[in-house]
Amino acid sequence: MVISGIRLPMMTSLIVWAVIWEIAGHTDAGFILPPLSRIIWRVFEIVPTASFLDALLITGRAFLLGNAIAIGIGVPLGILMGRSVIADRLLLPWVNLFLSAPLSALVPVIMVLFGLGETTIVLVVVLFSMWIIVLNTRAGVRAISPSLVEMARSFGANGWQAFSRIYLWAALPEILAGIRLGMIRAVKGVVIGQLLVSVVGFGTLFEIYQSHFLMEHFWALLLVLFSFAFTLNELLAGLERRFAYYAASR
């Protein structure tokens, strides 16, 4: 927005919201929504504690592992689906199904099958993030200009060369977007998983704060998680933008 000739960056309006929050926190709503200042104070209290760091470690590890698996499977699968009609028709219904299905309903199943603990969380991460990566990679591969592929072939490229020099690069913007969207979904998935399982990582903390009505702690934890998700999103989006220059010109 432009105010008297000065362009205000988009996110500056968050300051306004922070002020509103602070004021609301000092009213009756303060029981549920404590003032921001006190919540931020709590953030510094919570973060160094062992149980927070523990939760961070467990969650972070599961998150990284899960995403690595999702990317490792999702990208090749997406490329395969983008190139082979048969694979596409066999797999696409499932990818779409998992993409739009309420996966939260599946968390109890995974819990029952794989117990609680990291395996479950890793699986939840994979389940939430993989499908969008597959679908985006597939879209990226399909968007590749046929003449680029023909160009490589006309210079005698073999299958591997076409894959590593053309497909992977040409689909990179979509793949990156898929990874970003997948990671964001995974963050949500992990939180859903931990809320439902409530005893892994941040789930424990949520449960304790909730059962003791410690709203400031609760919000502090939320704030940390939200900022993490947002930062992650922005970082990945930044990476994406570095490749965006050619997304339009393929």
């Binding site: 117990g115 609680l116 449960e207 003791h212 410690l214």
Partner: protein, 302 residues
């Protein structure tokens, strides 16, 4: 080297479950190492033991044992169902509750069992039953006017009366509380690991007896072992207060269980509709394995 005993706990590490952890810690000092897995629900803890993912569990496996014929046996009565029916003051007595809606924790759980027994005793029928897990959620519901009557645990009963004592009161509950959380395991595993089981049961019994004399012991042990150390001081400050109250109300019974207690449990759960009766025909040895507890009593000289 002994492998760790895997314990499945149907709750997070919190004030209520602290005593059990302290007992396990003490057992560890006696050479029985353990590893706790927390579950969000008791059912899951039971399942983990059935599936062999855990050796010992903490929960109420009666219904599952009867239903699925899983070879689980109870070793120790950890807590008892000390719950308090709370209701809007417009319900003066249980008679007023006839046909009225009531809220329980979840289907086929302790709170509903209590409700069933009371209904039978008072000769009334509840109206619509709804379920809200977590006592804290139920008292929020009460304060928001969404729940008129429910059954909550000690801490939340106190909280409710403190915050809205003008609107709500406690109705008479059941006198002889049944087992809530018990220590149990697969009988095969128990028999194979008698020594470790003995140590653990002994430590549970020892702590429970000490608690009866001095509720502050839990907090002392916690400080010594730095358990829950980084939890908010608001939580920690409440520990001794909780145990003082809880032992007084009989949540943590110092006996640890017996055939009579088992029988009483059968009565209760059968009456509550969670076990198939008649209670008199249920055999204690199908549900309990009392040998370790008896040995523990002997060891502690009581």
């Amino acid at each position: 080297a002994q492998s760790k005993v895997r314990v499945a706990l149907g709750d997070v590490l919190s004030t209520e479950t602290l005593a059990m952890i302290v007992a396990l810690e003490r057992a560890k000092e006696k050479g029985v190492d353990y590893q706790v897995t927390h579950f969000s629900k008791e059912d899951l803890a039971i399942q983990a033991v059935i599936n062999g993912q855990a050796d010992l569990g903490i929960g109420t496996p009666y219904a599952v044992v009867q239903k699925s014929k899983a070879p689980l046996r109870v070793l120790f009565q950890g807590t008892r169902l000390v719950f308090f029916p709370v209701a809007d003051k417009s319900y003066k007595s249980w008679k007023d509750m006839n046909g009225q809606p009531i809220t329980f924790h979840a289907r086929a759980t302790g709170t509903e069992a209590i409700g069933n027994i009371i209904a039978k005793r008072e000769g009334i029928q509840f109206g619509e039953r709804s379920y809200v897990p977590g006592s804290e959620n139920r008292i929020i519901g009460m304060m928001k006017g969404q729940i008129k009557a429910t059954i909550v645990d000690l801490a939340n009963k106190n909280l409710l009366l403190e915050k809205a004592g003008d609107r709500f009161h406690v109705l008479p509950g059941v006198s002889e509380p049944a087992s809530d959380e018990t220590l149990f395991g697969q009988i095969e595993w128990i028999k194979k690991n008698e020594k470790q089981v003995d140590v653990i049961v002994t430590e549970f019994l020892r702590l429970w007896q000490e608690m009866a004399a001095n509720p502050g012991i839990v907090e002392q042990e916690r400080t010594k072992r730095k358990l829950m150390a980084d939890q908010p001081k608001e939580v920690l400050e409440g520990i001794t207060k909780f145990y003082t109250m809880a032992t007084k109300e009989g949540v943590y019974a110092p006996t640890g269980g017996s055939a009579e207690i088992a029988k009483a449990d059968f009565e209760f759960y059968a009456e509550a509709g969670q076990m198939q009766g008649p209670a008199a025909e249920l055999k204690v040895e199908d549900f309990w394995y009392l040998a370790p507890l008896e040995r523990a009593r002997k060891a502690l000289g009581s």
